[in-house]
Amino acid sequence: MVSLKDRKSLVITLLMPAVLTTILGFAFSGVMGGSASIGEAKIAVVEMGSRQEDMARIKKAIEDAAARGLIKEELRDEILDLVPETDFQDILYTEVLGNSEVKKFLTYEIMDRDKAIQALERGEITAVVVIPEKFLYNTFLNLAMPFKNPVEIEVIKHPNYTLKGGMVEGILRGFTDALAAGIIAKNTLLEAAIENNVGEKAYEGLESITRDIFNVRVREIDFRRTTEEGRKPISSFQYYAVGMAVMFILYAASDGAHYAIDEVRNSTYSRVLLANAGLFRIFASRFISTTLFTLIQVTILMLYSKLAFRIEWGPPSGVMPLTMLLAVAIGGLSVLLSSINLRLKDNRASLVFQAVFIQFSALVGGSFFPVGSVPIMKAIGGMTVNGAALEGYLKLMRGYQLSDIAGVLSTLAVVTAVCFTAGTYIASGVRE
């Protein structure tokens, strides 16, 4: 009847989520790009300019230079032959994005800008990479000539996919860093040019090329245009603080059901029955104690994450109702498990729940990693108590309001209702 009596399990259920949040938060904040468990990302590449036009411009520039005597006449044709090899964009596609390691978790498609943004807003893709106009031409000039034309690749991320967005950003940064450092260039145009004693000035220019010239500009997509107000991105700490909290409160439900069997085993259940307390009172107190326990647990985790990681959980007007309903749903789950336990006269139900169900629903509910890109997991996870709650909390963190999480709230209400109905039905068969 009294859930708080076991002080050891109290420490575990309160401390474990905090510990795991810390570990997972750090693990994923550092190496977001590297982890395979993040899942596959789809990106769109938008080409603002035309590669053919850029190539033509480059050829024209070389011919102009030759005409003005900057390049010796006999070398001109040789250099022109090399130009196709300076297609850095092609290198981006085949060598970087086409790299067999990269391909394991990232696929790309070339789209036009409007389509790409729409796809991003619909969540079909993770990020949009915008290759600017005159990219090839400017890159060529920057490497070969003393002129400095800033080249900026834009990465637009979806706030739902901060982890994967960061990964895309990392890859492109690697690419532009390589461009800036002349690594790619050296291997292509310039080596040939310098060997042939072409354009000493170009060589001098290379040294002065800084990373400022090739840059990846990152921004998050702004939904203001299309839907609601500005959304904030979710950090890995925020994500795992919520993920772990909603996973560990499931243990409160099964612990509650364990106590039900403990009471049968230590005969206190008989005492309670003989006091004419009746099953209703037994289940009511199970429900109330588990609900209260869950409320306390979530509150402590919120405070902890706020102090330790400065995590904001969103507007109280949304967080409080969500937390209340979540606690009620956990109380309902505990009633259901208790009634199964009492019916079976052992704690098989809550043990299975603990060993299998919690792990499963934590996985599909997104407690371990975001499941947005795996439709089946997202669908099943959305129906679990923890999955729904996770979605609700993340939305509130991003700046949504109570009205935006109505779906989540109704899922929790339905789960609670189902638990009570099933629990009552099963309990009606509990005798002796």
């Binding site: 009847m1 009294v2 009596k5 076991d6 002080r7 230590n266 005969s267 206190t268 008989s270 005492r271 309670v272 029955l273 003989l274 006091a275 004419n276 307390a277 005798r431 002796e432």
Partner: protein, 310 residues
């Protein structure tokens, strides 16, 4: 008649835990249910207290069938389960408070009852310690206390003295007498015949789910009044000697336990001289010999051919 149970049955898959028994409980008495492990004592009282449903038979409390309205008996019943039925992580005080509240006791009344119970059981000093840090004897006392808070008319005690020191045991036995003198009807199960003999007005002797004898101590002992029990100690166990004893006229039963031999024989049959003769014949020295007043243990032995405790 307070409780009248007839043709009670409870069968588990292979075991006939309780096999067609009749029991009646009279107002104000201490009723004993005596039997070895697995006799069906706990099952019987669980049925009497409405905790489990019988597979057959009927139990009436003051004329009302309790299967129809278990509430009537539950209100007036205090039960001391065989296993200590307390929350080990709570203190004695917290346990008593909790169970008291279940009986809708509140405030000063509850505090008063708890005080009274702690006094009665001599637990005042350590009421705030957690149960799991208590000795076996103290746990048992709190276990009894929890059944007394609501001033029950009937107290059912299932082997309340198992596994405790003699001092706690005596305290508990005295408490039972005291409670009974205040008018509480008590049903007391045990496999210690001394306890039942000390406490109980009437006794049911159970074995293998059946009642094999019932009545007052005197009535039960009268069952073997045609017999007498002779106990002796010999210097060495000797098979031929025991065989000879078993063959003697008037001997009904011989029980051998190392150098101790118990004989049940017809009363006043002049058996002693024949025992001495048999000893002499087989070269066995008798270290002691006595004719005993029969105990309930002897009754059980007589009825079943086995001791109460193996």
């Amino acid at each position: 008649m307070l409780i009248q149970a007839s043709n009670l049955k409870k069968y588990y898959k292979k075991v006939k835990a309780v096999d067609d028994i009749d029991i009646e409980v009279r107002e104000g008495e201490i009723l004993g249910i005596l039997g070895p492990n697995g006799a069906g004592k706990s099952t019987t009282i669980s049925m009497l207290s409405s905790l489990i449903k019988p597979d057959g038979g009927k139990i009436c409390f003051k004329g009302t069938d309790i299967s129809k309205d278990p509430g009537v008996i539950r209100k007036t019943l205090g039960i001391v389960p065989q296993d200590v039925a307390l929350y080990p992580d709570l203190s004695a005080l917290e346990n008593l408070k909790f169970f008291g509240r279940l009986y809708r006791l509140r405030g000063e009344e509850l505090d008063g009852r708890i005080e009274e119970v702690l006094d009665l059981l001599g637990l005042n000093g350590r009421a705030r310690d957690r149960i799991k840090h208590y000795s076996g004897g103290m746990k048992r006392r709190v276990n009894i206390g929890a059944a007394l808070l609501h001033h029950p008319e009937i107290l059912i005690m299932d082997e309340p003295t198992v596994g405790i020191d003699p001092q706690s045991r005596n305290h508990i036995l005295e408490t039972v007498k005291q409670l009974n003198s205040k008018g509480i009807t008590i049903i007391y199960t045990s496999h210690y015949m001394e306890e039942v003999e000390f406490l109980c007005d009437r006794i049911y002797v159970m074995d293998h789910g059946r009642i094999i004898a019932s009545g007052t101590k005197e009535e039960l002992k009268a069952l073997i009044s045609k017999d007498e029990t002779i106990e002796m100690q010999v210097d060495r166990a000797d098979e031929r000697f025991t065989a000879k004893l078993k063959g003697l006229i008037d001997v009904k039963h011989v029980d051998e336990n190392g150098d101790r031999i118990t004989i049940i024989s017809n009363k006043n049959s002049g058996i002693l001289s024949r025992i001495f003769e048999a000893a002499l014949e087989n070269g066995v020295n008798l270290k002691s010999i006595q004719i005993k007043v029969p105990t309930l243990e002897d009754v059980f032995l007589y009825l079943t051919g086995r001791g109460l405790r193996d």
